[in-house]
Amino acid sequence: MTDRTIIKIKNLSKSFVSKNGTVTALENINIDIKQGEIFGIIGMSGAGKSTLVRCINFLERPTSGTVIFDGKDLSLLSKKELERVRQSMGMIFQQFNLLMQRTVIANVCFPLEIAKVPKKEALKRAYELLEVVGLADKAKAYPAQLSGGQKQRVAIARALATNPKILLCDEATSALDPSTTRSILALLKDINKKMGITIVIITHEMSVIEDICQRVAIIDNSRIAEIGAVEEVFTRPKSQTARKFVFPEGKRIDRFVSNRCCRIIFDGLSSFEPVIANMVLECKEVVNIIFADTKNIDGKAVGQIVIQLPEKELAAQKILNYLKAKGLTVEEVHNYV
């Protein structure tokens, strides 16, 4: 990754006019994608991410705002110029979109035919690329004879044929099973590293972002909710949407209604023993830690922890007994919270 911006999405908005009025798909999107990075765009379905990727290569013309690709403002280009620029932007799709009536090798040659590369040269390049994606032995096969993962590999080889500067991936792994997804992602990572090509990945799966992206933009409700380095967004998600992706199940812990608390005094038990964790595992009851102040002094745990006990009498008793059996000083404190 360098500091040079290869794609600059500037104040981009897109709306569609339908029978039921105007639908806003994207609103004021600003993203800078650096040369050589793998950039992820994540969002729930309907968030506008597929529209966004189509705006990057102007398959969809933005309603306002623009995209600056490699120094060229795409909104100012003529149709012909735009077609030429697209030859330096590869794209792969969820449904692969291979030409079903052409062999694998002819599919890879296809963008080269469009770019009017001499046939011999095109074939040579196509074979090299099939080698890269590991499908040289399938050159003469038809797409219908390939598995999903193999089809996506052909699509990747095809997208790379014209030596593009960027590769746009629209839900490229969403139709694949987990292990195939991993191998496709590994291939993309490899291509990014070896060829230095910038990759933009659109997905709804957090695991894809985790696996290969360096930076991520989270799209929610037509807007960017959050944008930043993947570790940053993952460890300290700021927006509600980001949190939803990072903690997908939204695991809600039932709130403790009990007021019954007890204080556990540590005065010399080995600090190497995870007392509370063991207690939870053995008693199979959860507790809530209200306050804790313990120190490790020379391998001994010293201090106190206040826990909130379950409301059920039996469960609470079980915990108290367990702690006492461990030789800890336990006293009940009422209305601690």
Partner: protein, 214 residues
């Protein structure tokens, strides 16, 4: 009698095949234009699309027998005569071209939109999309369509017998209908059935061989 029917058969095949070819020369581009200029097409030209659509429907709604007679002056202008199998080719082409345009339009609309989008993402021009994606990808369906077209044109050509258009239909009308020679009528109809069968079979086989999707 054998001589007569053999002659009729050759004339029928001549009319049908030449008419089909010429009708495709008009119908194929017309069908492609209908798809391409559609409002969701790769080169939308809505007004042109609507006008062509109306013309196609108009010609298609004229019963062939009436078209056959209505274009007689035009036929004389083009061919120099209004009788015989060459003269019949004119109304056959006019009648079949819009029908073929619709068949072609339906076949090309079946092509996966995603594949067309992929071609656009590679910077393909509309023209490249037409001849490198739409037509090759629709090929099996286009072949099935051409089998339908040729058999329909064959049955139209038999109708031309009523105005002395030559071919098996002419024989069936002149000998079988006007002179009550039922045997000739039966033989000609049987031959027509066989030709339709043959064209249909060949079309389906070719479509299957050309389809790489399975």
């Amino acid at each position: 009698m054998f001589e007569l029917i053999w002659q009729g058969l050759l004339e029928t095949l001549y009319m049908t095949i030449v008419s089909t070819l010429l009708a495709y020369v008009i119908g194929l581009p017309l069908g492609v234009v209908m798809v391409v200029t559609d409002k969701d097409g790769i080169y939308p030209l809505v007004t042109l699309n609507k006008i062509l659509g109306v013309i196609i429907n108009l010609v298609r709604s004229i019963p062939f027998l009436i078209l056959l007679i209505a274009v007689l002056p035009f036929t004389r202008f083009v061919v120099g005569t209004t009788i015989g199998s060459t003269a019949t080719i004119v109304p056959l082409v006019i009648g079949a071209a819009p029908f073929i345009a619709r068949l072609v339009e339906a076949s090309i609309k079946e092509v996966d939109k995603g594949v067309i989008e992929a071609a656009q993402s590679m910077g393909a021009t509309p023209f490249q999309i037409i001849y490198k994606v739409m037509i090759p990808e629709a090929k099996p369906s286009l072949i099935v369509g051409s089998a339908i077209a040729i058999t329909t044109i064959l049955s139209y050509s038999a109708m031309a017998g009523i105005v002395g258009g030559g071919g098996l239909g002419d024989i069936a009308i002149r000998y079988g209908y006007y002179r009550y020679q039922n045997d000739i009528m039966l033989v000609t109809v049987a031959i027509l059935v066989l030709i339709v069968q043959a064209f249909q079979e060949i079309g389906m086989k070719l479509a299957k061989i050309n389809d790489k999707r399975n």
